[in-house]
């Protein structure tokens, strides 16, 4: 059924149609509507789940781990400082092989105190082993929650479904909330092999020395690499059932493009308008949206970028001392390729600064005009 809902509610409804069984979460701006709606859904039994109103984000993920270890489908949501507090437990969910799905509203980190969007909170979780999906619309937020459970529960790793603060979290869009029966057909119940069960006792989380730890890490990498195939497969299957197909990346008017613009989240949806206008002006430019950041779609990046003339990457984030994080990852994926294009790494929109069609066109035009990237970081819109 089509509804006009904000991104935060798309996240809640995504959890509802995934039939989550245990939720543990702590409110934080701009995530609050997620937990408020979930509380209402539980209070009215529209969602038959237990909601643990924990006293911190750290405890939220701890309780999720406990519930998931018993075999419950488990969900939480947070943002920025909350995600940072949860950080230790994201490592635990990964190492414990617990497929919790976590919604994160991208909000810039303080100080200075702020509530507006950028990607530094989620990208700071880069090396945990938690899958990261960056959504560009409220529909994609809802759809990705369902897909994230399907992927996570097969590889036994947690997933993060990420949306921009305010640009999606508080913006209403038309969202098709699919029929429950169809979702049930797509997403089978979670049925893990090993759980905390007195009938079959196991010890979890024990002390492991150099003899065993290494191999367990290898297995996590093996699982997350395998998720690349699963994300594409489950995304395709989703398309067959619901009419909306998803993958690791999304191409937009890319086929004949000499210049490729790369963006993620809502900047990518704004960029489509910029690409349309630039193509009308006769410029050979197309868009590549990175939807999944972990696992990183290195194979797709190589396949789509080799032999192009130029690549411009927009980062709404910064790794201090190095540069935009998507740009770094793309450069590293291409490094061993023979005919790799030069890469312009732009940073813009930090702390929720607006990124308009005009800004994106300026980025592409600058890339066209310059012969090579003059600096590792190309700042756009910074007022000095």
């Amino acid at each position: 059924m089509k509804q006009v809902i904000m991104g935060n509610h798309a996240l809640s409804f995504g959890a509802m149609i995934s039939r989550v069984q245990v939720i543990a979460a702590y409110p934080i701006t701009p995530q609050t509507q997620v937990v408020e709606l979930l509380s209402e859904l539980c209070a009215d039994k529209r969602l038959d789940a237990e909601f643990i109103k924990v006293e911190s984000e750290h405890s939220a993920m701890a309780a999720c781990c406990g519930a998931s270890a018993v075999g419950a489908r488990t969900f939480t949501a947070t943002s920025a400082q909350g995600l940072a507090l949860m950080h230790e437990m994201i490592h635990w969910a990964v190492g414990g092989r617990l497929p919790v799905v976590l919604g994160n509203i991208n909000r810039a980190m303080g100080p200075p105190w702020t509530i507006w969007t950028d990607q530094n909170d989620s990208l700071s979780q880069r090396d945990t082993g938690c899958l990261q999906f960056y959504a560009q619309s409220n529909q994609e937020v809802l759809d990705t929650v369902v897909q994230a459970f399907k992927v996570s529960e097969q590889i036994l790793l947690p997933s993060m479904v990420i949306l921009d603060a305010f640009a999606l979290s508080h913006t209403s869009e038309v969202v098709d909330v699919p029929d429950q029966k169809l979702v049930d057909e797509y997403l089978p119940p979670f049925n893990p092999r090993y759980i905390l069960d007195p009938k079959e006792p196991h010890t979890f989380g024990g002390l492991t020395g150099p003899d065993g730890y290494y191999e367990l890490r290898y297995k996590i990498e093996e699982a997350i690499q395998d998720s690349k195939r699963l994300i594409n497969e489950t995304g395709k299957e989703f398309g067959e059932l619901f009419g909306r197909e998803y993958g690791l990346v999304e191409k937009y008017k890319l086929d004949d493009a000499e210049i490729v613009l790369i963006a993620s989240s809502t900047i990518a949806s704004t960029a489509r308008v910029a690409i349309d206008e630039l193509q009308e002006e006769g410029k050979k430019v197309g868009l590549l949206r990175v939807r999944v950041f972990r696992p990183f779609p290195s194979e797709e990046i190589r396949e789509l970028l080799v032999n192009r003339k130029k690549v411009a990457v927009i980062d709404r984030n910064i790794s201090f001392g190095h540069g935009g994080i998507f740009a770094q990852e793309i450069k590293s994926a291409l490094y061993n390729c023979k005919d790799k294009p030069p890469i312009w790494g732009y940073i813009t929109g930090i702390g929720g600064r607006d990124v308009t069609v005009e800004h994106i066109k300026e980025i592409v035009n600058d890339t066209i005009k310059s012969e090579k990237p003059e600096q590792d970081i190309l700042w756009k819109g910074v007022k000095l």
Partner: protein, 308 residues
């Protein structure tokens, strides 16, 4: 209440083969808890001595399900487990109640896990939280905690020439948890197994959150010969440093009143961590510590008499 005969004929669920030090009281405590709780139990252990010594991969000392899910959050982790099993029971997917017991040392309970414990107690999860209080961070090499006694030497409260050991009295965690108005809170010690196991049984029978704080003498950290652990436990109760009592539905009840209250020094003089207090120049510390024990004990007596 199970008799000693019954308990000794039960099969151990926390078994031999763990790597605890000789004389470790915490391993006796966990063994007794597991015996009383029985097979239908899930344990969550915070990072600490007992987690480390009992779960060295690929071995385990646990014959019941055990989960270690970080240091500061065994209560929150227990919340998730309890909630899931409560939900399964509500839906008729299981018939028998499953005991959820979360535990931690004084580090994981008094200090870094205090917030998580407070939250779980306030949310009224049907679980038992058990603290084995060995009065310092023993797992990391005997650093002071908020449970460390006044005057005690630890590696971060050393008895120096100017500062003679820990300068603060311990936090009264039992009363802090009792202030959460949960149905059952108790203090126990391993020398009195009958009192302790009765308390565990009671806590597991009661619906809702329950908390037991157990003193856990530590030969390594307290510095005494390993065969004296039970004596250390007994003297802590006889000096009223560690009263055995319970708070059931808000009413304080003392479970052991010594016929003759022994001076605190009878307990401290046997422990190397208090060795520096035997010198004449530190006499005032012994006096201050005794005064505080008297104050707390008298307060407890009054509460128990007034049935509050």
């Amino acid at each position: 209440m199970p008799s000693l005969k019954q308990l000794s004929s039960e099969k151990d669920l926390f078994t031999y083969g763990h790597r605890a030090c000789a004389g470790c009281a915490a391993s006796i405590i966990l063994r007794q808890v597991a015996l009383v709780a029985g097979k239908n139990t899930i344990f969550v252990g915070a990072t600490g001595c007992m987690e480390v010594v009992s779960t060295i991969f690929p071995y385990t000392a646990w014959k019941v399900p055990f989960l270690h899910n970080a240091f500061e959050n065994s209560a929150a982790t227990g919340s998730g487990i309890e909630t899931t099993y409560r939900s399964l029971k509500k839906r008729g997917k299981i018939t028998k109640k499953i005991n959820v017991i979360a535990f931690g040392g004084d580090g994981g309970t008094y200090d870094i896990g205090f917030q998580s414990l407070s939250g779980a107690m306030e949310r009224r999860h049907d679980m038992l939280y058990l603290c084995y209080n060995n009065e310092a961070y023993m797992n990391t090499g005997i650093q002071r905690s908020s449970a460390t006694p006044f005057g005690a030497h630890t590696t971060t409260s050393p008895a120096g020439t100017v500062i003679p050991g820990k300068q603060q009295f311990p936090k009264d965690l039992t009363e802090a948890i009792a202030a959460h108005d949960i149905p059952y809170v108790a203090q126990a010690a391993p020398h009195n197994w009958a009192d302790f196991t009765k308390k565990v049984e009671k806590a597991l029978t009661i619906e809702g959150p329950t908390f037991i704080n157990v003193l856990s003498p530590c030969p390594l950290g307290w510095v005494y010969p390993p065969h004296l652990s039970i004596k250390m436990s007994k003297l802590a109760a006889e000096t009223c440093f560690w009263p055995l009592y319970e708070v059931e539905n808000g009413i304080h009840k003392i479970n052991f009143k010594p016929r003759e209250k022994k001076p605190l020094i009878e307990w401290t003089k046997l422990q190397g961590r208090f060795r520096h207090l035997l010198s004449e120049s530190n006499k005032h510390i012994v006096e201050e510590a005794q005064k505080e024990v008297d104050r707390k004990w008298n307060r407890l007596l009054k509460m128990a008499e007034a049935k509050i």
